[in-house]
């Protein structure tokens, strides 16, 4: 936990192997029918393999930005672009999205839920079962592969949802307040899990949260949005070690970063 371990660039020398794609938002605004401006003039460049936290008050357009990045929504003005994916294999989908709730299909067991993205991309049964089994193992759900969502706890459902996102080896993982509904301990567990998966796989991660602690604990870089219409109030590379451990949460450097984020959040929330 020494200062010298931190780096000024987003990626430290001990950072994950590069496997992600870059994302660019250029002057992006999104106005909904009825004239509600969700986000306004957003300029944001996410480096390949970077772990970015997107913070802001409720209704500030964090989810809108995520949907725009995913291509699930189009900007009213401006441009969203992503660098091309390194792989064009059918098993591989460039983008994965994790929602606030697990959103599993209740009529499918965990293995079939996790295999769904591959099924939709036309991968044969044997190959997708194999890939699903690996993804399930990776998130620590190995013994629950045959269970149905109704038989899982909230944390296990979220793990299954994470496995479903990872099964296609995405270059870009988008998470929309994924662990917000979980209890504190389960959330910490899943935060650790996500950190580990990111270090192993090196995909680009954009993580929407309204928890300062979670943002500071997970991300290399934090972007704070103002309340609606969402504008960027702070864009800060966190001066924290790449390797995060539970001890970090009590580190003075951690407190300093938290304060910076907190001040930005207050500035953005003030009328």
């Amino acid at each position: 936990m020494v200062e010298s371990e931190t780096t000024s660039t987003a990626r430290g020398p001990a950072g994950p192997a590069s496997g992600g794609i870059a994302v660019d938002l250029h002057g992006v605004s999104r106005v909904f029918d009825g004239g509600v401006v969700a986000v306004e003039s957003i300029d944001l460049h996410v480096e390949p393999g970077q772990f970015l936290a997107l913070l802001g008050p409720s209704g500030c357009g964090k989810s809108t930005i995520l949907r725009l990045i995913a291509g699930l929504d189009r900007p009213s003005r401006g441009e969203v672009s992503r660098s091309p994916s390194s792989s064009s294999a059918a098993e591989h989908a460039p983008i994965a999205y994790v929602f606030q709730d697990a959103h599993l299909l209740p009529w499918r067991d965990v293995a079939d839920n996790v295999a769904l993205p591959l099924e939709l991309r036309g991968i044969g049964r044997a190959r997708r079962r194999q890939a699903a089994a690996r993804a399930i193992e990776r998130v620590g759900l190995g013994d629950a592969a045959g269970r149905y969502p109704a038989q899982l706890s909230g944390g296990m459902k979220m793990r299954a949802s994470l496995a479903r996102a990872l099964v296609t080896s995405p270059d870009l993982l988008l998470l929309d307040e994924p662990f917000a509904a979980l209890d504190e301990i389960t959330r910490h567990e899943l935060d650790d899990e996500l950190q580990r998966l990111w270090r192993e796989r090196g995909m680009t991660v954009v993580f929407v949260t309204h928890s300062l602690v979670e943002a500071a604990f997970l991300a290399q870089r934090a972007v704070v949005l103002s309340r609606r219409p969402g504008r960027i109030v702070l864009d800060r590379v966190l001066a924290l070690p790449v390797e995060r451990s539970a001890a970090l949460r009590t580190d003075p450097g951690f407190a300093r970063e938290m304060r910076a984020l907190h001040e930005a959040l207050e500035r953005g929330t003030a009328p």
Partner: protein
């Protein structure tokens, strides 16, 4: 298992037996005249003595109800899928689907006899009254697909057909079963009404028995038609429970419904 069955069957039997006993007593004591309300024992005797004719009538009505119901399920789901495919289609055609709900079947049935023939009138009548609940509930289910899951399917490039089969229809299943439960009972009602006109099956027998002042036979017919409705309803419930057993705790425990 047998204990659970007992718990399911015993409670509804209590009021039935109580009512039957009360009716028996009322008739035997002369409080109610037997040509208005037959004694339950008389109805039972009629059912037993004339079992052969009742069996044929019940078979007729069952076949017609099932045919009408089956058509209503197939057509209702197909219509709902078509209606859900675009907002303008829904706006243009849904009001006409409501027609099926409001149509006075007793007024239409004579027309059916003219348009179709006697054989097809009864299933057609069952179809007409039972198709709307299937359409309405399936449509509601199809329109309530979780938006997050729709996004997920889009993200992985799923086409319309894949989204329909793997997401929207399965997601609508609880709703569809609600529609089927309502439709099952209505199909029997529709069939009986159709038979009033054609003179066949249980419905036809009710008319004949009434003209012959055979209240015992009318009651036996009523009992049979109610039984048919209950059996259909229970079969739908069973199918629903088996299909949705993984969905939530209530279907697994199978507690509340009949």
């Amino acid at each position: 298992m047998s204990r659970r069955l007992l718990h399911a069957v015993l409670p509804p039997l209590v009021p039935l037996v109580a009512l039957a006993l009360a009716a028996e007593l009322a008739v035997r004591a002369g409080w109610v005249r037997a040509f208005l309300v037959p004694a339950p024992s008389t109805v039972a005797r009629t059912l037993y003595r004339e079992a052969e004719s009742f069996r044929a009538l019940a078979l007729d009505t069952t076949a017609a109800s099932l045919t009408g119901f089956g058509l209503a399920v197939a057509a209702g789901i197909a219509i709902a899928v078509a209606l859900s495919s675009a907002v303008w289609i829904q706006r243009a055609f849904y009001p006409y689907a409501v027609f099926f709900q409001t149509v006075p079947i007793i007024a239409i049935a004579p027309l059916l006899v003219i348009w179709l023939d006697f054989d097809r009138t009864v299933p057609a009548s069952a179809f007409i009254v039972s198709v709307f609940p299937v359409i309405a509930n399936t449509l509601a289910g199809l329109l309530s697909t979780d938006p997050a899951l729709r996004d997920l399917f889009r993200l992985y490039g799923a086409g319309r057909m894949a989204t329909l089969w793997k997401l929207r229809l399965p997601y609508a299943l609880p709703s569809i079963f609600t529609g089927l439960r309502v439709a099952a009972g209505l199909a029997v009602v529709g069939a009986i009404v159709g038979e009033f006109i054609t003179g066949s099956g249980i419905g036809g027998d009710i008319i004949v028995a009434r003209q012959q002042q055979r209240v015992d036979r009318v009651f036996a017919d009523l009992l049979l038609s109610a039984l048919l409705g209950i059996v259909l309803f229970s079969l739908i419930n069973l199918a629903s429970r088996l299909t949705l057993r993984h969905w939530h705790a209530s279907e697994r425990a199978g507690a509340e419904e009949l």
